[in-house]
Symmetry: C2
Subunit: 644 residues, 2 copies
């Protein structure tokens, strides 16, 4: 059983400094001359001096008449001075050259045309008045831009105006990426992955970043877990003399071993492992003047490797300040324990609730690319911290612009497929709204409302005593709070079973069968509460159910466990079974509501959402999912309504 050993992991900043100390920056990027109009974003390799002056002539800065200032000094209000065309003045339009011997322009608004050849003025002109002077913008030979300056659109304009049609710039860094791993499928073949296979996508995340960073990117064909094949690929890559060659680990540890071994074959490993989570198993090495990277296989780990190691080094190479994301202070909605000695990159969903930004931590797994696509920000938990408590104020680096945060509705609570539908519809509005849902179960939603950390919560909490939904729980957990309860839909809960129901599962009693493997929802989920209630009513001991202790967080996760054959059944909604083509054993109808604090319900964005809920078009779309009734959808519920 061989395994990777991290000799000594380093904090990110130490790793970067170590690498920079080993490189001669001046030798890394050569210079080239390229057409100015194609040079946006490039870095000047030399100071650039103007060749032409701009403007090249004195010109009128206003529409009016050109005059000799000294001939106008006698003009006074009420004592106008008459000027004769050609002799004393000439008409002139903005931008036209100032006629020779004239040195000022009087705006047309201040000129009285007496006839074709006579003009009267009531105020003197001072010399150079309204004249755009030669060289006013640029004087030939003056410094237009210093060396090591990144060219903006304005710079392109100034260079062309100064007669510079070619600029000496540093070559753009070039990154080569080699995907590796036996299990890796080449996305260019549009594969349909079978169990055990992974569609290779990290290369394209980096390719897209390279576009944003404005550097060259080349992806080589994927290489299997084979030392010799990897050696050949690296050799081919290095022959192109890139500034960075990145070996993308497959997800197996074996391939990562080859990465290190191969890096050592061509050069030297400088960093093996960083004190970061995700991102720890990153490797940095050096082969000649090419940086070598071993990027972890998990998507979020590889993003950390790209953004925290590769990007700063590329920026440094180009003498650019690395891009910094905008930051806001956020309040964490949940306690986040973190490992001492490792900086953690926590993805969070952010929204503005009342006057504060609240950040709900997303699932922390390094394998979850969706934890990045669903995030609006990243909270860095420092290495010296053991975590953050609920309600802590921490800085978040934003993945969206700050104004966009104001257009996000934070929904925390139970999961339902109609929330996806709702999210999509809200993005189709004239002024789109983002619905950011975090699935922590119905009770988690109530807790979020209690802490003012969500705009709304989705819940379907059934109280067997009152036979009512949600209200009994609100009374208990949010006494005195004005919460508007609006129905989203009535939905069918039941057992999700494999297609054709091969184990002939007919109801809850089948769950205790020896040959039936079950999977449960997490504690606090409405579905779990519903199940426990049904089990109790039927006198079934949960301990007899194989898999009762195994928990998933969403209906879809339950369904995919059934679909893959890992379990035989789980409890969930009809829509989840239908989405994956599974069979369904109905057990109960239940009401799924949105719980909205009154102060939130009055906000414009929430009004928009509520209007959408009441629209027939939206109800039809819910109904089309199957397993939903929309008779109450969009209506305000009151206690005791039950299923209506």
């Amino acid at each position: 059983m061989s395994r990777n050993v991290y000799l000594r992991t380093l904090p990110i900043s130490d790793a970067l400094e170590l690498v920079m100390s080993r490189l001669d920056r001046d030798a890394l990027l050569s210079a080239e001359r390229i057409p100015t109009h194609e040079a946006l974003g490039r870095i000047t390799a030399e100071p650039i001096y103007a060749k032409a002056s701009s403007p090249t002539y004195h010109s009128a800065a206003m529409d009016g008449i050109a005059v000799r200032a000294e001939q106008t000094f006698a003009a006074r209000e009420g004592r106008s001075l008459e000027l004769v065309r050609d002799r004393d003045y000439l008409p002139v339009n903005t931008g036209e050259p100032l006629p020779e011997e004239f040195d000022a322009v009087i705006m047309i608004e201040h000129v009285q045309e007496l006839d074709q050849n006579t003009a009267a003025i009531e105020a003197p002109a001072f010399p150079w008045q309204h004249v755009r002077r030669i060289g006013e913008d640029i004087v030939a030979t003056e410094l237009l831009l210093p060396q090591n300056h990144r060219l903006s659109p304005y710079d392109i304009g100034a260079l062309l105006s100064g007669g510079i049609f070619e600029v000496p710039v540093r070559t753009r860094p070039h990154i080569i990426f080699i995907p590796t791993g036996d299990e890796v499928l080449d996305f260019t073949r549009r594969p349909e992955p079978k169990p055990g296979e992974v569609i290779e996508s990290n290369s394209q995340v980096l390719a897209a970043m390279a576009r944003l960073w404005d550097v060259r990117f080349t992806r080589m064909d994927p290489v299997p877990d084979d030392a010799e094949a990897l050696r050949r690929a690296v050799e081919q890559g290095l022959a192109q003399k890139p500034q960075a060659l990145v070996i993308g680990a497959g997800s197996s540890a074996g391939s990562r071993d080859y990465t290190r071994q191969t890096m050592e074959r061509f050069g030297e490993v400088l960093v093996h492992g960083i004190d970061a989570m995700p991102g720890k198993p990153s490797l940095i090495g050096l082969a000649g003047e090419t940086l070598l990277f071993g990027a972890p296989g998990y998507p979020v780990s590889s993003v950390v490797c790209f953004e925290q190691l590769l990007e700063p080094l590329l920026a440094w190479m180009q003498r650019m300040e690395p891009k910094r994301r905008p930051r806001v202070s956020v309040e964490l909605t949940r306690k986040v324990p973190s490992k001492l000695g490792q900086e953690e990159f926590l993805r969070v969903s952010i929204g503005k609730v009342g006057s504060k930004y609240v950040a709900t931590p997303l699932p922390r797994g390094a394998g979850l690319i969706t934890s990045l696509t669903r995030a609006q920000g990243v909270v860095r938990i420092p290495a010296h911290s053991e975590g953050k408590n609920t309600g802590s104020s921490v800085p978040a680096e934003l993945l969206v612009s700050e104004p966009e945060l104001g257009r996000i509705l934070v929904c925390v609570g139970s999961h339902d497929n109609t929330l996806d539908l709702l999210a999509n519809e809200l993005m189709g509005l004239k002024r789109p709204l983002t619905l950011s849902s975090t699935h922590v179960g119905s009770m988690g939603g109530l807790l979020a409302l209690q802490n003012d950390s969500a705009h709304l919560a989705g819940a379907h909490l059934y109280d067997p005593v009152s036979r009512d939904y949600n209200f009994p729980f609100l009374e208990k957990h949010l006494p005195g709070r004005q919460i508007r309860v609006v129905n989203l839909a009535i939905r069918q809960q039941g057992l999700i079973v494999a297609r054709g129901n091969p184990k002939s599962i007919e109801g809850l009693r089948d769950l205790v069968r020896e040959d039936v493997r079950f999977i449960n929802r997490q504690r606090g989920a409405g579905t779990r509460i519903l199940l426990d209630d049904e089990l109790e009513r039927n006198g079934i001991d949960p301990q007899q159910i194989a898999g009762y202790e195994q928990e998933e967080y969403t209906h879809m996760a339950i369904a995919v466990n059934v679909q893959s054959g890992v379990v035989d059944c789980g409890m969930g909604i009809y829509a989840a079974a239908q989405a994956l083509g599974l069979d369904f054993v109905p057990l109960a109808r239940e009401r799924y509501d949105l719980l909205i604090p009154e102060e939130q319900a009055r906000e414009e964005a929430m009004q928009t959402l509520l209007n959408l809920l009441r629209s027939d078009a939206f109800k039809e779309k819910i109904a089309a999912l199957g397993g939903y009734e929309v008779g109450l959808t969009g209506e305000v519920m009151s206690p005791g309504t039950g299923l209506g």
Copy 2:
């Protein structure tokens, strides 16, 4: 004399709303399917649901052994449990599929290998421990992204992982730009402009912005000031069905008349003139579903038109929040009067002096593209304001990142060519520094130090009584302040005359000749003070000098006036004459110093600058300019030193 009349100018926001109210956004951009890995930055045209789950299988999330959790429950610290390979456990590496029938992984660090076939554990595993579960990231059929979502690098990764190899996205907006004007030179021909000619560059400023906005851009060939030629060009442009067609006015008003007339021929003019400065003469119209723009000819006006009108409309079309620049609060170093009823876009140079950001207004002319390239920010002075006083705190939109502001040295005062040299050298340092120089004359520099609005000032103030430089002025204007005076160079001042000195100007006495046209430096400039002193000493009456009232702000501006033949001579430094190949009549040597408040002199960045000044390499570069002596360069001056 025909001229443009603005029927009714509009505030920018009103203009945008008017245009948006006339467009059907849904019809503007069609949809297309493109490969996912090429879709960065594009906007989804439909919701996107996953086709594949990810991962497709349960896999080990750690290196270790796969076990059945229920078989491990008896393990305790100090009471280890032995497991038999194949029967009770199997070794497993991160990412490898979890062997069938196993449901948990124990990290290798917590396993004691007794022999090849026996492992001992001291703690139980809970079900799913360290298992990356099927569908944990993505479940097939779930919503990956809603409609109208802009694709990030992370999204590309999620889409590929979810088996989406093609995405439906909105087409990118397409901008066509037609440069116009008889005086306009096509930059692609690399022209050398003669007086009266202008190198067309606005198209390339827009082209570069289009790259940043990620929209398509096409430039058509320049069109002369000819109504029929413009009509044909617009017709050709519209045939491509762009989302926006921009007619770039030449700098003559005539061509702008054609713009409006041509727009009306193909469609309707919605906005003629905005309440903005620069940018007022912008036109917006509509021809079918194509936006028509008449962009002003002055470079800064056209930038305002592009950024304030075109960009927000393109963003709106794509349902994107328009990009917002980072803002900081700055203190204005000078009073800025502004016209009521017009929003002004004031370009400012920003630096951090002490704990505050200070903003020095740059020249305000709409024709000065360098007022943008030299700016670090833009201050918007609202239409309802008549301007801002010195010391006002105002928000500035940053053109650089905030960390870059910390790397700027603000130099205010007299102009000298060696400052350009210094600026370039500072950008070549390991950690580059930006030297931002504003030229307001030596007295203006002293004033800036008085107000703590600069890190250093350049001055060459001569006091005829003490025959000393700068110190007498510091004593008078900054009494009690600790100012370190460091020499930059001793330089030659004199009369800059045309090549070959055709008017045989030999000295100051020639300035009163009838045939000699002079141009002066502005009041407060050290050169002006020197001239006035020399005139007085020689008993010459300034009123007798033709052109004494005409002022320029820099040595180079004086030189270019001489070079173009507008004047016969002006006072300035040798380096300026030499740069433009002019002749020079020496009058005096003078000391040019950098005045640095002691608290600034102790800062790291200033230390870097001072070290650079003392280096031989830098002194050699100054000397190579000609007209400079470097015997005192980099040395700290004390009162009474004079010329050393």
